[in-house]
């Protein structure tokens, strides 16, 4: 089937047009002060780079990382046991349980966020002043993206060779140690894709922080959105490039750490 090589070309061109070209456009825009894409009034300036020194940017970035970190952590702490219990249960209809996990995702996520907002502002819950806090944003992020953590872990657990666990138990290793030494290390690839899939939207989204945070929780996504709304494309582009670099750096470090951990275990 080697003769079909040329079929990859259109997709390659498409990716260059929609990934590489925008990056170049953004890079060029960072050096100009323009009103939106109106290039006739654009002037060369380094304003965007000067604005980077603003403390609010650092605060928003830090806050995004905090919200994303706790969202990922809670998703993992809730999601791993769920995936594990379903996968290792003797239920005959595991698939049905999984379908019930997918079902809430068929409800529009924006409307689910509005639902939480309405619930948080009922007389009983409004005493706790949840709206506008980091914890409420983290909570809603967790409930929205939890399936993204459960599914990859579940898939890996299902594909795992169960005889390894039996072997460990036969050799007299207790259940906890078997889990920590065999099951968990073998499921790490699922955990890492789950972590990335929750981390990305949690760190860069702006819908949840805007709606539940009511402007009090400012994440990097909110910052970029408000900058573009003010038609400051130069500064917005610079922030977008920096966010992409930060995300790629974090994901790559995470993947490296994970493969390193696996490597050392294989040697031991």
């Amino acid at each position: 089937m080697k003769r079909f090589k040329w079929l990859a070309i259109p997709y390659f061109v498409w990716l260059i047009l929609l990934v590489a070209l925008p990056l170049v456009v953004m890079l060029v825009l960072t050096f100009f002060s323009s009103n939106g894409m109106n290039l006739s009034t654009a002037e060369f300036s380094l304003d965007a780079y000067k604005r980077l020194a603003d403390i609010s940017i650092l605060k928003a970035t830090w806050n995004s990382l905090v919200v994303a970190f706790f969202s990922v952590l809670i998703c993992f702490l809730l999601g791993y046991p769920v995936a594990y219990f379903i996968s290792f249960s003797k239920l005959r209809h595991k698939l049905l349980v999984l379908l019930f996990l997918i079902l809430p995702m068929w409800c529009n996520s924006m409307l689910r966020i509005v639902g939480w907002l309405r619930l948080f502002s009922t007389p009983i819950l409004s005493q706790f002043n949840l709206i506008g806090t980091n914890s409420a944003v983290i909570f809603v992020t967790v409930t929205t993206y939890l399936p993204f953590m459960i599914f990859p872990i579940y898939t890996v657990l299902e594909k795992m060779d169960r005889s390894l666990i039996e072997a460990s138990k036969d050799l007299g290793v207790n259940a906890w140690k078997t889990f920590l030494k065999i099951t968990f290390p073998l499921s790490l690839s699922g955990v890492s894709s789950g972590v990335v899939m929750v981390f990305l939207p949690a760190a860069t989204g702006f819908a949840i922080s805007q709606t539940i945070g009511q402007g009090k929780v400012r994440l990097i996504g909110n910052l970029i959105q408000s900058v573009f709304e003010k038609n400051n494309y130069g500064f917005g582009s610079l922030l977008s490039i920096l966010v992409s670099l930060l995300i790629i750096a974090i994901v790559l470090t995470f993947n490296k750490l994970q493969s390193k951990g696996r490597g050392s275990k294989a040697h031991a």
Partner: protein, 281 residues
């Protein structure tokens, strides 16, 4: 001793079930609120979630509120078209990528992952910038065309990641056999290779559609000229305080339909299995 262990095992499995159910119900709280609000006569009152009596007016809103039903129709239009294009495009791109030699293959694998690793907000802005560049030539580029391109763009990697592994497992000798028997390469591809991938193609299309119909951020940046989608209607109307309770009704309806499908599938699954169990007895 044995009995004690048995009791312990039962308690542990009950605790496990409670944990799973608790997490599940956490995800169902907003769904319940949406269904509740869809029947609530005072769904939009200032006191949140106060029960104002049972009504079906919210369901009528779906057909009378122009803004709401155009956003629903726009959503469906974009998602169906984009799924169709992305599935076909992803299929042929996968066949192409699969045929590449090792070095080119690695580059494509890397490029294919970029849209998935890029944050949604940057993807949305990227496509918005490209379309801003071409608006002087095509003034109507924003709206349906920009949103369609954006959705196809973020769907393609998912479709390809579903199809490519299956394609790698495909035995090439079937293709060779078809060729030897006089099929043209294209005919062999359509008659032998592609039918073999049907499950992967279907899964890819389903994932793509699910992501597309729910998308907010990327559509936020690529909407325009009066063309938007449902998520963006909810967001903008909620912030502008002209939110229609018909939105709840639309989503409750979707939930009922998917619940019916799930129950139907599960019933069909459980029926024959029960019979098998009896046979083995």
């Amino acid at each position: 001793m044995l009995e004690k262990n048995g009791a312990k095992a039962i308690i542990i499995s009950i605790l496990k079930a409670i944990f799973v159910l608790a997490v599940l119900s956490l995800m169902y709280v907003p769904v319940v609120i949406i269904v509740y609000q869809s029947f609530n006569a005072t769904a939009n009152s200032i006191t949140p979630l106060s029960w104002g009596g049972l009504t079906l007016d919210n369901y009528k809103e779906m057909f009378t509120n122009r803004q709401l039903y155009t956003s629903i129709l726009d959503s469906l239009l974009v998602s169906f078209c984009a799924t169709f294009i992305a599935t076909i495009g992803g299929l042929f791109a996968s066949i192409g990528i699969n045929a590449l030699d090792k070095k080119a293959r690695r580059t494509m694998d890397f490029l294919n992952e970029i849209p998935m690793l890029n944050s949604e907000i940057v993807t949305g802005i990227s496509i918005m910038l490209i379309f801003s560049l071409i608006t002087p030539v095509f003034p109507d580029a924003f709206g349906f065309p920009s949103m369609l391109v954006a959705h196809v763009f973020f769907m393609l990697p998912y479709v390809i990641l579903m199809i490519l592994p299956k394609l790698e497992q495909t035995d090439e000798s079937y293709f060779e056999a078809a060729r030897d028997l006089g099929c043209s390469p294209a005919k062999a591809l359509f008659k032998i290779v592609i039918p073999n991938l049907s499950t992967a193609i279907l899964t890819g299309a389903l994932i793509a559609f699910t992501l597309s119909i729910d998308d907010f951020v990327i559509s936020f940046y690529t909407q325009g000229n009066g063309f938007s989608n449902f998520s963006n209607y909810v967001y903008s109307s909620y912030t502008k305080k002209n939110f229609s309770a018909g939105s709840y009704a639309f989503n409750a309806l979707l939930t009922f339909i998917s619940l019916a499908i799930v129950l139907f599938v599960s019933l069909r699954q459980t029926m024959p299995k029960k019979k098998k169990g009896e046979e083995s007895l």
